[in-house]
Every structure is written in structure tokens, then in C-alpha cells.
């Protein structure tokens, strides 16, 4: 099954919260905070991106890839999970 991309990104930045805030402001994301307690992984969401899409957003991919402070990022996809 083809992945369905959503308007959320997981981003790892070196210098924590301030760096994530700067990144969010620069590219128009909303910083939804840390993914793990006290860490460098942040949850960013973009309101101008389709909530569900069959293709990843190439523009944000390019921008995040070019930013030297971004160590890793991943546009989130929907995961099918069932109750047992």
C-alpha cells in the first residue's frame, strides 16, 4: 500500500527548543514541541500543506535538507493500526 503523507514532520535539531522555534518561524511550521522528553526531536506541523497526500512535500523536504542545523527529518505517514 502506498504511504499517505500528512502535514507533520519529525525534525532533529542540535540545539533544542530555540533552534526548532527558529526553524518553525523560518519555514512557516507550527512547533508542537518535543517528541521525547528533554531532547532534540521536535514535532512540526504545517497548516499550508494538505492534511493527507500520496506524495511527500518536495518544497519542505528541500528546505529542511538544506538547513545546516537540521540533523534528520521525516515527513510523517499514516500508520494502519488495529485493536486486537
Amino acid at each position: 500500500q502506498a504511504p499517505i503523507y500528512v502535514s507533520s514532520w519529525a525534525v532533529r535539531v542540535t540545539k533544542g527548543y530555540q533552534e526548532a522555534e527558529r526553524l518553525a518561524r523560518k519555514f512557516g511550521f507550527v512547533n508542537l514541541g518535543q517528541i521525547f522528553p528533554d531532547d532534540q526531536y521536535f514535532h512540526l506541523r504545517h497548516r499550508g500543506v494538505a492534511q493527507q497526500s500520496l506524495t511527500p512535500h518536495w518544497g519542505h523536504r528541500l528546505r529542511l535538507k538544506k538547513d545546516p542545523k537540521v540533523r534528520w527529518f521525516e515527513q510523517q505517514t499514516l500508520r494502519r493500526r488495529v485493536k486486537r
Binding site: I35, E74, Q76, L78, R81, R84
Partner: protein
Amino acid sequence: SLVVPTDPWFSKQWYMNKEIQQDLNILKAWNQGLTGRGVVISILDDGIEKDHPDLWANYDPLASYDFNDYDPDPQPRYTPNDENRHGTRCAGEVSATANNGFCGAGVAFNARIGGVRMLDGAITDIVEAQSLSLQPQHIHIYSASWGPEDDGRTVDGPGLLTQEAFRRGVTKGRQGLGTLFIWASGNGGLHYDNCNCDGYTNSIHTLSVGSTTRQGRVPWYSEACASTFTTTFSSGVVTDPQIVTTDLHHQCTDKHTGTSASAPLAAGMIALALEANPLLTWRDLQHLVVRASRPAQLQAEDWRINGVGRQVSHHYGYGLLDAGLLVDLARVWLPTKPQKKCAIRVVHTPTPILPRMLVPKNVTACSDGSRRRLIRSLEHVQVQLSLSYSRRGDLEIFLTSPMGTRSTLVAIRPLDISGQGYNNWIFMSTHYWDEDPQGLWTLGLENKGYYFNTGTLYYYTLLLYGTAEDMTARPQAPQVTSRARACVQRDTEGLCQESHSPLSILAGLCLISSQQWWWLYSHPQQPVTEGQASCHPPVTPAAAA
């Protein structure tokens, strides 16, 4: 003079009220005063009805969150057909209040219970990772009764962030002792699914729980696989009784079913063990569960005796979990020595897959260069491989250990017609627990379907986890925990209000506070010393050999 809860539905709780001869033996643990006090469990699911009359008293807001709407309230979303009742049902099995004249009793009826609402919305890697790493210093046990589709054709597991959440949970959670992740093994029996195609149950960091019926039969929904550790009761055919628990709208139910119902029972039993010995690590508990599970009356065609004399099955793991035995063992368990990991690259050039192919590998190395063996007793064994195959579900993969134990890493899955093969997939087996890894390991690949199937094995790495200690030669230890004295003064949450830190060292003994007692923890071989940071040997992450 058994202490029996007075709740009106306790008589319906056939799996723990001694109605059947070999039940979960929970009354034995309760009669030792163990009821989960001081232990915190969180149910990761579709929410929890926190104001339910049988849950509110044990409800813990710190162990709860709503990652679907990003607020602290995990109350389920109510719908006409009550599709979000699952988390509330799982929660009641663990921690429904006892002796309050309502419903039945939870297995750990004095444990604190929280709920994470995360299944009622868009599920992403972030949502799963955040749920599994909520309050890791506060929550001791996470119970999850969900996973990828059990449709017999899916191969899926945790994303990178969720894998990281597991890793952090076991290395840093619970003040370094490691949080417990209890997982339902899967409901895909009707589709001939295999729980080793589910990366959550298949993970070394989760403790995967299967189901059996009241009669000790394999339920129609049950999946067989090598990563299942243990089994508890659940539903069977329509005439079989089901599991009693709390339900939405302040109701009770005796209709909770599937492997979903089994995992929370095991989570509650593990809470009892943690009350008996709060210093158990995540690996100690896996050792204890192996030892506290018995074949009992469980019927299966594949019970085998492994290399250390334990009976093990792909349907049930090591068998029916016994709470009385678990808490007895917990009290005398000496800490497991650090985990070691040994990675052996076996195939790294593309090799055509023959209709029946055996890949032998003699393992002798597994040492740190000083001829000292890193692993004498195995814990988990993994096979990491990439292969292509014309019809994935036709390929059976099995692994035989030097001591002759054969476990099926994946059996045929008739509905899996994918031509994508396995891409860097890791299969796990618990069947070699405590065996000596030295000798000949044989990976087998066999076409059990269409005659003209073809494929290529690109690489195969054998991953051995274990410890340098010979676990089969452990002497029977004296009790390592003892109640030093009762807590005199408690705060509103029931925690001891005394000047000692939760973990302190006193005259070579560790002094630990739980809600009700101060515990003295002694270790005859490794007496602790004043100034030592922890009462437990360091829990080191796996070091590759």
C-alpha cells in the same frame, strides 16, 4: 483462609477465582499482600473512562494523555456503537477496584492506572513514539493491545522514532531499570497470520502475550510465532466464557475477547511481581516470565523441549503465566548480569534461494578478544535478513540452534502474495532462552507453495543476545527483598512521606520505598556499598561484539 474480593462479578472471573484447577494463580499473590500497590500502568489505546466507578479510585492523571487531541484528558470519544470502549476494557482487567461492590476486581487492583488516547485518530510514528515514552520515570508498565493489521499479508513494525522510544524506555525508563512494554500477540489466526511479521510483538523490548481458552485450547484468532513469551486466558468459541472487566458508560462486561484481553492480564501480573521486588529490570522480568510460565493444560501440536529442558510452543511461548510462581521467583531473583550482543554476518553476497536451502554457521567467536565468552546463556535470538521472493507467503524460514532447538521464524502465510520479499526484516525467537550459543546454527528456507517460486537471499545476520552467566547453574537464592518496616506517614497519593530518598543504601543493603513499605534489598554476591549510585548492577546498552 483465602482473601477473596467481594465484588459481585468476581464469581464470573473464572480465570482467577479458582473455578478452574490451573488458573492464573492470582489469589496466591493476593494472599501474600501483593495487589500492585506502588506500581503505575498505562494503557495505550483509544482512551480510558477515568470516571468509571471501578477505575476512578486508581486513576492516575500523570500516567495519562490524549495524543489524538493533544490535551491531558484521555476520556474516550463516545459514539453510537461504542467503538472506543477498548482501552477502558483493558484498563479494568489490570486495575478495577476490589471490594467496592461493583463489577469484578483487577489483577493488580491497587495499582495506579492511566490511559493514553492514541488510537482514535491519525496514527503516525510521532504519536506512537510520544505515547510509548510518556512519563518514563513515573510509568512502570505500558500495556498495548494493538498493532499492524493482522490480515495475513502485512509485514510492518515500529518506525524509527518508535524504535527509539522502546530503546530509551528500556535503557533510561524507571530510573534505568527499564520500562516494561507488554504487547498482545495478534488476532490474525483466521488469516493464518504470523506474529513475527509484526515488528512490535517481534521486538526484543516488548513482552508478547498470547491467548488460550478456558479449556486450554488454541483460540481461533490466535497467531503462532517464535517471539511469543507467555500466555494468559481469553475467549474462545461462542460457548466459551470471556473476560470480565469495566466497560464504557460506567458499565461492566463479561464479553472482552481476543489477545487484547490477554496482554493486560499479564501486565497486571507483572505489576504484582514489581511490587514483590521493585528493583527488577526489564530483562529480569523476561527471565522471570520464562520461568513462571508452564505448559499446564494448554493443548498444542508443537510443544517441544528446548536445549535447557523447557517446553516451548509457537502458540503459547513458555505456557500459562502463573502469578503465584512469578512473585515467588521475583522475591529471590538475583539481578541478571549486563546484556551482551553478538552480531554474526553469515551471508553478505546475493545467493539464489533453492526450494529447500540450509545455511549453516558455526559460532565460536562471541568473545571480547580475551577468550572470555560474552554470552554463555542466550536470551533473544534474531535473524536479520533481506531477500526477494516471488511469493513471500510461500517461504517458510526456520532456525536450529546448536542444542537442536528448531523454531519457525515465519510459517507459510497463504494470503501473503507479495513479491516484495523481506527488506532488512528482523525475526525474533525466544525459544533458545538460556541455551549455550556455541556451535552450529542453521537457517533454513523452504518453498512450501508454488513450485516455480524463485528468490535471492541478499544478506543474513545472526544476532545473539544474552549474558556471560550460566543461568542454568544459578543456585537457589535466599529472598532478596524483605519488608523492613511499614510506612508510617503517607501523602494524599499514598506515597511514603519520610526523609529517605526512594532508593538509599543502608549498611550494605538497599532501602527502597514503595507505597506501603520500606524494602531492604540484599544481594549476597554483590553487597552494595555506601555511596554507590544504584542498588543494581549497571544496566548497559547492548555492546556489539
